[in-house]
Symmetry: C2
Subunit: 182 residues, 2 copies
């Protein structure tokens, strides 16, 4: 699937078929995550692949933002200790989040290109997820990514038009005026 097409046609999927995610595709998706850039090349990400049905049930119970019954949930975590040691406070407190989010976007696009659906989730109890996945103190659960074969074809939620969100050289100065080639 072509990049721009994938970017525009990816949807957040909240209903999944029960079919398992083939291991080969799962590994392709994780691999896409680790090819994201990271601040200072710290690569703080850790991917905890949840497939065990009991663990999935617990994860779902503590994640109000997780919809449907995905056969796989990947907990995208950051090693905050690694981040701090290599990149200091900025890396620990900010870049860890950015790096995991960029990896997540790669993973969502890869999943989509491979015919799978996904949804990124932040609405979960970090404390509970920590316990369920046995995370040590220095590992922060940043985001959950549900994965599976989509059982819906949602319409894209409307996007704010570029006219409202893009400026030229300073805030408030419209980028789009004539709309011609530059």
């Amino acid at each position: 699937m072509e990049v721009l097409e994938a970017i525009r046609s990816r949807r957040s999927i909240r209903r999944f078929k029960p079919d398992p995610v083939p291991e080969r595709l799962l590994l392709e998706i994780l691999d896409a995550g680790r090819w994201a850039p990271s601040g200072g090349n710290i690569q703080p990400w850790l991917f905890i692949v949840v497939k065990d049905s009991k663990t999935l049930k617990l994860v779902k119970m503590f994640s109000p933002g997780l919809f449907g019954d995905p056969p796989v949930v990947v907990a995208i975590c950051s090693d905050r200790k690694r981040a701090r040691e290599v990149g200091g406070k900025l890396a620990e407190e900010y870049l860890s989040i950015v790096d995991c989010a960029m990896a997540a976007q790669n993973m969502m696009l890869a999943a989509h290109a491979l015919g799978l659906g996904s949804c990124i989730i932040k609405s979960f109890s970090a404390q509970a997820i920590r316990k369920v996945l046995k995370l040590p103190d220095h590992v922060e659960p940043e985001l959950l990514l549900s994965l599976g074969y989509p059982d819906e074809q949602p319409q894209p939620p409307p996007r704010r038009p570029l006219e409202d969100i893009a400026f030229l050289d300073q805030y408030g100065e419209p980028l789009l005026k004539g709309g011609g080639e530059g």
Copy 2:
């Protein structure tokens, strides 16, 4: 360009040709950004496209992490007020960062697919960038994205192997054992 190929072959570019970025490609890249998912569909992102040479010089002066002389820098900002009003404290303080990072990853992949190079940058003085770009208090400069035709073909920095970063069902439990199909 195919998605998985783009994800793996994208590099952070720190030397640019002086050629301008065609307006049509720039708009494709910004459009890719706004197709990222966002928490609660808040779409907190604002893109300030810096092309004016005096403004570029100022941005560069206050951004130690910005290398080369890109003809365009996009300041990816978040509207923290919008985020708070729609999504509360979590959106204001966390999702704003995640959403802008996911948009940034889309933009880097789109740029790469269109033959352009980019680099994501956090090492800048937020206070100075705020002044230069006349950002109101509620708009936070999250990341800078340099854009232009690449004048280098860097080797990928080594990635941590999946064996080190991927676990199964709980932290510490290796995902990769037999390496077969699941």
